[in-house]
Amino acid sequence: MIPFLVRRVLIAVPTIILISIFVFALQKLLPGDPLLVLAGEERDPEVLEFLREKYRLNDPIPVQYLAWVGNALQGDLGISLRSNQPVTELMAEKLPVTIQLAVMSILFALMIGIPAGILSAVKKGTITDYVANIVALSGLSIPNFWLGIMLILLVSVKWQLLPASGYVPLSEDFWQSIRTMLMPAFVLGTGLAATLMRHTRSSMLGVLSADYVRTARAKGLSERTVILKHSFRNALTPIVTITALLFGELIAGAVLTEQIFTIPGFGKLVVDAVFNRDYAVVQGIVLVTAVGFIFMNLIADMMYFVLNPRLREQ
C-alpha cells in the first residue's frame, strides 16, 4: 500500500506544478496594463515604475513565475486589491462558512442519494426504478440557482418558514445557524444526490447479480440482510470514491448557492473578486480549489485501499 501511495503522491506533483503555471498564466490574459488601474488618473511615470518594481513586472516572465510560486508555497498569495488584506487571510475567513455549507449538503446528498439508489437497483425495471431515475435526471437538469430562487419564493416569501438569506456562525447560535443553512444546503445537496443515486444504482446492480448474493439468498437469509450486509457493503467502494470526487461539483455549486442566499463564503468571495477585478483573489481561489481537488483524489484512492482488503494485501 505504501509504495502505491508514494507513487500516487509523486504523480500529483507535476499536476500541481502545471496548475500553478495555468493560474499564473491567467493574469497574462488580461488585456492592457493592470497597473494603469492602480496608478490612478495621472499615470505618473514614476509611480508606474515604482509599481512595476514592486510587482516585479520588469523581470522576465519565468522569474516572475518562480517568485510567485515561492511566495505561494509560503502561504503568501498576494494582497487583495480591494480590501488590502492578504489573500490567504481572506480565504481562511470564508472557509468555515463554505465548509459548513458543504458538509450539510453532502449529508443531504447521502441521505437522499444512497437510499434512492439502493431502492431503484433492488426494484430494477419497476415503476419505482423508473420514477427514481426520472427524478434523478431532473435533479441533474435543474439549474440549482433556479431551484434556490423557487425555494426562497415558496419557503421564505410565501410560507415564511426559513430565512431567505444570510449567515449566522455556528459558534454564535447553533440552531439558528443550522436553520439558515438548511435551504442552501438542500439546494446544493439535491444535485449531488442525483449523481450519487445514479452511481449507487449502477454499483448495486453490479453486486446484486454476483454469485455470493445468490448464495446468500439461497441459504435463506432475509432480504434485508442480503441487501444491506451482503450487497451494499460490497457496492460501497465506488460510492465512497464518488463522494470524494463530488468535491469539485460541490465547490462550483457553492459559488451559485452562496450568491443566491447571500452567504459570505468562498463562492461569494470569488464572484465579488471577479467583479472588483481583484485578480489575486481569483487566482488564489482557483489554485486552492484545484489543489484541494487533487487532495480529495488522493483521499479517494486511499479509501479504495481501506475499503477493499484484496488491494491491501497486494
Binding site: 439549474p143 450568491q259 485578480y279
Partner: protein, 294 residues
C-alpha cells in the same frame, strides 16, 4: 472494407443492416430518448424561428407596462422595465443553444485531435498532454470557466470560449482512452502492415471508431454547457444586457421575487427542459450505440 460488407449482405441481412440504421431503430424505440429529442428539436425550432415570429422587440421597453403579470397582451408578463418576457424567452433560447453548441464544438475540435495524438503515439507526447489534461480537470469546471470569463472579460463569446476550454479535457481523456483500446485491434494492425500513412490510419480507421462515445459525451456536455452559460450569465459574466439570456433574466428576477414572481418562473423552466432534453437524448444515444446490447 466496402467489399467485405457487401459479401456479408448475402449471408446475414441482420448483420448487414447499416449500423446507422440499427442505431436509429434502437433510438426510435427508446421512449425517453425520443422525448429528449422532441424537447431539443422544439427549442431548436424556437431559437431558429425567433426572427420570424410576430413578437415584440426583446429589448423594447414600455414604461406603461412595468412588471405586469401574464395577460393577453403579454402572455408571460413583462419585466422590471416593461419588456415582453415571452419575446425575451424566445430570443434567450438562441443565446442558450448557441452557447451550448458552440462551446461543445470548441471542446470537441480541441479535445479530439489532442486525444487522438496522445493515445496513438503514446510516450512523451502522451505524457505531456495527459498531465496538462489532469491539471485542467483538477480545477472545478465552473470555477475554471468563471476565472477564464473573468480574465477574458464578460461577454457571451468569452463565456463560450471559457466553457469550451473548460470542457476540453473531458474530450481529450475520452478520446485517448478509446484510441488506446482500438489501436491494438487487428484491423488497425493490418492497416499499418500494408503501409498506410499514419494520418490515413488515424482518420480512416481510428477516428470513425472512437466517434460514438464522443457523440454521446458531446450531447451530455451540451446539457452541462447550457447550465454553465446560464450560470455565468446569472453571475453577470455571460450575455450582457440588454441582450436577453435565460441566466441574466433569472439574475434580475431574483430582485423582484415579492413583486413579480412570474419573472423567475419561465427562464428556469426553459433551462430545465432544454437541459433535460439533451440529457435524455444523450442517455438514449448511449444505450443505442452500446455494441454490447444487440
Amino acid at each position: 472494407m466496402t467489399d467485405a460488407t457487401s459479401t456479408d449482405a448475402g449471408i446475414d441481412p441482420v448483420l448487414a443492416a447499416k449500423p446507422e440504421n440499427r442505431v436509429w431503430k434502437k433510438l426510435r424505440a427508446h421512449r425517453s430518448a425520443m422525448l429528449g429529442g422532441a424537447l431539443v428539436v422544439f427549442f431548436l425550432l424556437v431559437a431558429l424561428a425567433a426572427p420570424l415570429l410576430p413578437i415584440p422587440d426583446p429589448a423594447a421597453t414600455d414604461w406603461g407596462a412595468v412588471r405586469k403579470p401574464p395577460s393577453a397582451a403579454h402572455w408571460l408578463g413583462t419585466d422590471e422595465i416593461g419588456r415582453d418576457i415571452l419575446s425575451r424567452m424566445i430570443w434567450g433560447a438562441q443565446a442558450s443553444l448557441l452557447a451550448g453548441v458552440i462551446s461543445v464544438a470548441i471542446a470537441v475540435l480541441l479535445g479530439v485531435p489532442l486525444g487522438l495524438v496522445a493515445g496513438f503515439f503514446g510516450g512523451w507526447t502522451d505524457a505531456v498532454i495527459s498531465r496538462c489534461t489532469e491539471a485542467l480537470l483538477a480545477a472545478p469546471f465552473l470555477i475554471l470557466a468563471i476565472a477564464l470569463a473573468a480574465f477574458l472579460g464578460p461577454s457571451l463569446t468569452n463565456a463560450m470560449i471559457a466553457i469550451g476550454i473548460s470542457a476540453t479535457p473531458i474530450f481529450i481523456r475520452l478520446t485517448r482512452g478509446q484510441v488506446i483500446n482500438i489501436k491494438s485491434e487487428d484491423y488497425v494492425e493490418s492497416a499499418r502492415a500494408i503501409g498506410l500513412p499514419t494520418p490515413r490510419i488515424l482518420s480512416r480507421y481510428i477516428l470513425p471508431n472512437v466517434l460514438p462515445p464522443i457523440l454521446v459525451q458531446a450531447t451530455l456536455t451540451i446539457a452541462t454547457a447550457i447550465i454553465a452559460e446560464a450560470a455565468l450569465s446569472f453571475l453577470g459574466l455571460g450575455q450582457q444586457p440588454p441582450a436577453p439570456s435565460w441566466g441574466s433574466m433569472l439574475n434580475t428576477a431574483k430582485n423582484f421575487l415579492n413583486q413579480a414572481p412570474w419573472m423567475a418562473l419561465w427562464p428556469g423552466i426553459s433551462i430545465f427542459l432544454v437541459v433535460l432534453g439533451f440529457n435524455l437524448l444523450g442517455d438514449g444515444l448511449r444505450d443505442a450505440l452500446d455494441p454490447r446490447e444487440h
